[in-house]
């Protein structure tokens, strides 16, 4: 069976024609994405994720490689003939058109009859709960409302593939968290296959069904969020997704999987635990949890995260206290590199 979206050995070089040394933005990337997936390309800026997305949309031509959607070769098609739509970073709404006209823009290009366009626009406005704002211009809307217009505009043509470029990047933290869930809800109700680009690992984890971690134009690891978090393949991935302690060169333990106390627990006798003693060097209080930096005899610092389940714990650790850190052997992962 042919995969829904297949990216094979895609390479993108920049600057080769100018005579200078070419910069390889995307380096032999291959991916297969199934219908209905919300797939996230995750990486820091300059890792090639946006270039890959722009090649899917048709704004960049791959230097080599193939991109196929439902078996159809996309590379040959100009952007306006591709059966996909994109939600742009900071939205790129047309400032001279109203919300209604922005959503209708793509439908008018399809040459649909007026009544059908109106019907479709109304349905989209309802979907993103913006019906009362149809006549407003984009600059009269809040950031969150603009984001919903952009979503409605990109979904109006019922694309078989939706591309999202940092979909929540322009929103502030609180609104972003609320919108993540709402956005996934809408995308799933529509049933559209999505490829999103983000540098925010939390956004990728909460929204995506699968994640590809990218760095320097390559894909380092592909998997479900839990997979990537609990079984990171490399030190880079372990470090990029969340926090990690790397011991003995290739043993990774997440800070929240470690417990911390003045004395070793009695169950030590029952089952073997990994344990290490150290001095509390720093305490960072985050409200719902606290991160302790434990100075080990080896000189290394161990990060330990503890949930603050009590308001006033009796015997809280203080700076310079001696403490034991312990974890179960199954909590640690052996990294490949």
């Amino acid at each position: 069976m042919t995969p829904f979206l297949s990216i094979q050995e895609v390479v993108k070089d920049f600057g080769a024609s100018a005579g200078g040394a070419a910069f390889r933005a995307v380096d032999h990337v291959s991916l297969e994405i199934a219908q209905g997936e919300i797939f996230a390309l995750l990486g820091s800026s300059g890792c090639g994720k946006s270039t890959l997305l722009r090649m899917l949309a048709g704004f960049e031509m791959p230097t080599s490689g193939s991109i196929r959607l439902k078996g159809q070769d996309l590379v040959k098609l100009p952007p306006h003939e591709r059966p996909l739509n994109m939600m742009f970073q900071s939205y790129a709404l047309f400032p001279h058109l109203s919300v209604w006209e922005n959503i209708a823009f793509g439908l008018k290009r399809q040459g649909l009859p007026k009544a059908q366009i109106a019907e479709r626009v109304e349905a989209m406005l309802k979907l993103v709960q913006l019906s009362p704002f149809a006549k407003r211009k984009p600059h009269q809307l809040s950031g969150g409302q603009q984001q919903r217009v952009a979503l409605a505009r990109s979904l109006a043509r019922q694309p078989s593939l939706l591309l999202l470029d940092e979909p929540l990047g322009a929103l502030d933290k609180k609104l972003r968290e609320e919108t993540q869930i709402e956005l996934v809800h809408i995308l799933k109700s529509v049933g559209v296959t999505c490829v999103m680009v983000t540098h925010d690992q939390e956004e990728a984890m909460t929204m995506a069904s699968r994640i590809a971690v990218m760095s320097e134009g390559r894909i380092l690891q592909v998997g479900q969020p839990r997979d990537i978090y609990e079984n990171p393949a490399t030190r880079f991935v372990a470090d990029f997704i969340g926090n990690v302690n790397v011991l003995d060169g290739n043993l990774a333990v997440r800070p929240e999987k470690i417990r911390l106390s003045r004395d070793l627990p009695p169950e030590q006798a029952l089952r073997p635990l990994k344990q290490v003693q150290g001095r509390v060097r720093d305490i960072a209080y985050f409200g719902s949890y606290t991160v302790y930096h434990l100075q080990l005899p080896s000189g290394q610092t161990l990060k330990v995260s503890q949930s603050n389940t009590e308001r006033h714990p009796d015997d809280a650790l203080r700076q310079d206290d001696q403490a034991w850190a312990w974890w179960s052997p199954s909590a640690q992962v052996v990294l490949k590199q």
Partner: protein, 289 residues
């Protein structure tokens, strides 16, 4: 530092008051007065204005001025838009050089440059030769713009050519300023939503460049209506424009009150649409805010 702000804003304000508003009020006063042979002003009459409105020649000349200014503005827009468009999309390093080329004509006298066109368009002038070879004269004759083959000078053609040549940079610059600031992602969004490059140009680029088009059109249209030098040098007797009538009234007929009325009507002719335009613009901005 408020006094500094006020002084800096005040200087051009006082300048305009002294050298535009005040003279204009004097012209207004002269236009409703009688003047004797010694140049003494007296009385109050509106007969100059009623004469202007009733005399077919004046009305025709005003209309001709508006017509040639409108044609010049249209031709400038057609020539300047593609130029400004590709200049705004040119390599960033090439743009200063292109901009310099647009400004280059300003480095020599405007009068000389317009005068040079007389030579270029005269019988045997090399622009005339090229135009003849391209059979442009046949085309212009068919539309009745020029009287005979190869006779470009002193026609509506040479007049509009001269004005377009003179005012083209004033159309290019505001258009370039607008187009170079446009967000390229909006075009990508249009393409993504199924618009071909051509459709995206008409549905996104052009509507967004409206302020640039309006600014350029104003900068070309307004001075063209009152243009004196180009019609004097390149326009023939058939292309009477109000600037030349004004000159004749002042310096040939020495009829200052009549000349002043001609000038006042011309200013009103330009000011009224301009005022309406800026009011409409202010209203639409208010509606946004």
């Amino acid at each position: 530092m408020r006094w500094l702000d006020r002084t800096i804003i005040g200087i051009p304000f006082v300048w305009l008051l002294l050298f535009f508003m005040l003279p204009f009020l004097i012209v207004l006063r002269i236009s409703v007065s009688d003047m004797d042979m010694a140049g003494q002003l007296s009385g109050f009459k509106l007969s100059n204005y009623t004469f202007l409105a009733q005399d077919a020649l004046y009305v025709k000349t005003y209309l001709a001025s508006l017509k040639y200014a409108a044609i010049t503005t249209g031709v400038c827009l057609l020539l300047a838009y593609p130029f400004a468009y590709f200049m705004a999309r040119a390599d960033k390093s090439a743009q200063p050089a292109l901009l310099l080329m647009v400004m280059l004509p300003f480095w020599t006298s405007f009068l000389l440059r317009v005068y040079a066109w007389k030579g270029l368009l005269a019988d045997g002038g090399w622009v005339a030769v090229v135009l003849n070879a391209l059979k442009v004269d046949q085309l212009l004759m068919a539309f009745g713009v020029i009287p005979g083959p190869g006779q470009y000078l002193n026609t509506a053609f040479s007049l509009v050519l001269g004005m377009v040549y003179t005012y083209l940079p004033f159309m290019i610059l505001p258009l370039y300023a607008n187009l170079s600031k446009q967000d390229g992602r909006l075009l990508e969004a249009a393409h993504d939503l199924g618009a071909s490059p051509w459709v995206a140009f008409w549905k996104v680029t052009v509507p967004l460049s409206r302020p640039g088009i309006l600014a350029g059109a104003m900068l070309v249209f307004i001075p063209c209506v009152g243009e004196y030098v180009v019609p004097e040098l390149l326009g023939g007797p058939q292309t009477l424009m109000i600037g030349r009538v004004l000159w004749d009234e002042f310096f040939a007929n020495n009829d200052w009150p009549m000349a002043s009325s001609v000038a006042v009507v011309m200013v009103l002719l330009i000011l009224v649409p301009l005022a309406l335009f800026s009011k409409a613009k202010a209203n639409s901005q208010e509606a946004r805010a």
